[in-house]
């Protein structure tokens, strides 16, 4: 990767790391008090309270991974930290999406959900990891660039 790409990566993942850290801290505090829902952001743990504090720990780790990767970002071991943090977001957000898919198929009174009920299952609010998911995908560009360098 060139110097411009490295500089952008450093700033971008520092900001993403700080946001992940803030979300993680909020979820940790929320898990002690039963969670919260703020607009389209859901940290209520309504689906499964056991998972709230677990998610919070993962998000905090994601934040630390991103932040610690910023220095000398182009070096492969540093980049790996950002890749790992993104994979951790994909796991948690992927499971949040899977949870919605699993809940949207069976109906309340009928075997299968109605189309309205199905679509309503995907409406907000969303957990913090789902907000971080699209932003974490930027790492794909850096993985691609690193792959080119390795070749």
């Amino acid at each position: 990767m060139n110097e411009g790409e490295e500089k952008f990566g450093q700033i971008y993942f520092a900001v993403l790391g700080a946001v992940a850290l803030a979300f993680g801290a909020a979820e940790l505090i929320a898990s002690a008090g039963g969670g919260f829902t703020w607009g389209i952001l859901d940290s209520s743990g309504a689906a499964n309270p056991l998972f709230l504090s677990w998610r919070a720990i993962i998000l905090l780790s994601v934040g630390f991974f991103y932040l610690s990767s910023v220095k000398d970002f182009a070096e492969v071991h540093q980049l790996a930290k950002s890749v790992m943090a993104s994979i951790m977001i994909w796991i948690v957000a992927g499971m949040a999406i899977w949870s919605r898919i699993a809940g949207s198929i069976p109906g309340e009174e009928t075997w299968f959900n109605s189309l309205d009920g199905f679509l309503a299952s995907y409406a907000p609010p969303y957990c913090p990891e789902m907000f971080l998911l699209p932003f974490s995908l930027v790492i794909m560009y850096y993985i691609f660039k690193e792959g080119e360098t390795e070749k």
């Binding site: 790996a80 899977w98 993985i143």
Partner: protein, 418 residues
């Protein structure tokens, strides 16, 4: 003519000079990620995320989608009422009680069951437990397990937990039989063979048989008491490490290092995963279904002949006094000899009848996990251990159940919940 040692080394040098290329190796991104997953500081958070994904998928696939989404409706709203209406005899008839619904007493009147957890017939609970709940839990578990195996994460997890497991006389590889036992204890017990010494194998088998609940049992627990799962697993993990530490001090023998191959990360091969999933799930069903049906039949017969009431009267004081659970728990404990999942399902029935407090449900479920391995695991233990070791395992097991079960009751009393 045989070569001397020096000549052999010379030959090795010559061959390696001709075949090995020496030079500086530049780490790739894959290597760097592989390193991150085995270093404790970074590897532990990654393991926490991986286990979160594993558990989350398990709950939503088995619980939300299949069991709660379709199977509960199929069995409770269609299968049970249909059998109740067409099976000859009706409530109170012995054959009907054995095969369909034993019913339960409400205000002095025998009433029909509303759910397959309560009914306890061979054709109702006997089919609902393996096909309505357990099958989906096992599929979810083995699917995720096969993916982690194929990707190459499991050996890294073994490296990561090596230090902790050495404290209890085991090697990091012990995480593989432990993980495998979370699906079914039978292959878990078989998987202890690569452990080096008899001491390590004895420790591993004993800890697996006592503290590791199988996928079937976890599936039923998740369905019945999802809010208690964290506490149940924490209690079992403390027992696993605590008693492992004690056994390591008491049992004579060595716990040497073993060398394990850690393959590079790779994309999972879906053909591989599908065949592993099929083999493991079908084997599991072949073992589980006959035992569940037999368990329903035996427990039903014991109720009908009054043997269960007699056992409840005999063991009631011990259960109440030492473990703090009601005498009705004796029935699930007996069923647990055959299948633990069936036994937890019976506790679900008692819960729905309002016989137990939340703490008693928690204690009963933990007791069911630790009090004895199911019959299939028991047979496997006999096969893998000699008589001396087997008796040692049983003696350790009895001691652990009484000490740990009593401790849990004591903690409950101190917290004012027992």
């Amino acid at each position: 003519m045989p070569l001397s040692v020096d000549e052999r080394w010379d030959l090795i040098d010559k061959i390696s000079k001709q075949t090995v290329t020496f030079g500086a190796y530049k780490h790739t991104l894959k290597d760097a990620i592989a390193e991150l997953t085995v270093k404790p500081l970074t590897g532990i958070p990654v393991a926490i995320a991986v286990i979160y994904g594993f558990w989350s998928f398990f709950c939503d696939f088995a619980g939300t989608l299949f069991t709660d989404g379709f199977m509960v409706r199929l069995f409770d709203e269609h299968w049970l009422p249909w059998l109740q209406s067409v099976f000859p005899g009706g409530l109170g008839n012995p054959l009907y009680a054995l095969m369909v619904d034993a019913g339960h007493i409400e205000n002095g009147v025998l009433v029909a069951s509303d759910t397959c957890f309560e009914s306890f017939g061979v054709l109702t609970s006997g089919l609902f437990v393996p096909f309505g709940v357990v099958l989906w839990a096992v599929v979810a578990f083995y699917l995720m397990f096969a993916i982690l195996e194929d990707v190459g994460y499991l050996p890294r997890l073994a490296v990561l937990v090596d230090t902790v497991l050495h404290k209890i006389g085991l090697h990091g590889y012990a995480i593989v039989p432990t993980f495998l036992s979370l699906g079914c204890n039978v292959p878990g017990v078989t998987a202890v063979r690569p452990l080096e010494t008899r001491k390590q194998r004895f420790l591993m088998i004993t800890l697996l048989a006592v503290f590791i609940p199988c996928g079937a049992q976890i599936g039923i627990m998740q369905d019945l008491v999802p809010e208690l799962m964290g506490w149940i697993f924490l209690t079992l993990a403390i027992g696993y490490l605590g008693f492992g530490f004690i056994l390591n001090k008491i049992v004579p023998g060595k716990s040497p290092e073993i060398i394990m191959d850690v393959p590079p990360y790779q994309m999972p091969m879906w053909r591989n995963i599908a065949s592993k999933l099929w083999i493991r799930t079908s084997r599991f069903l072949l073992v589980a279904v006959p035992f569940v049906l037999l368990g329903c039949l035996i427990v039903g017969l014991m109720y009908l002949t009054g043997a269960m009431d007699w056992l409840a009267a005999v063991f009631g004081p011990l259960l109440m006094g030492w473990f703090g659970v009601p005498e009705e728990t004796v029935a699930p404990l007996i069923a647990g000899f055959l299948r633990k999942d069936l036994a937890v399902g019976m506790i679900g029935g008692l819960m729905e009848q309002g016989i137990m407090t939340t703490f008693q449900v928690f204690t009963s479920v933990v007791l069911l996990c630790i009090y004895f391995p199911c019959l299939a695991t028991f047979v496997m233990m006999l096969k893998e251990e000699n008589w001396k070791e087997f008796l040692g395992s049983i003696a350790s097991l009895v001691a652990m159940v009484f000490v740990y079960g009593g401790l849990i009751h004591l903690v409950g009393i101190m917290l004012g919940v027992a």
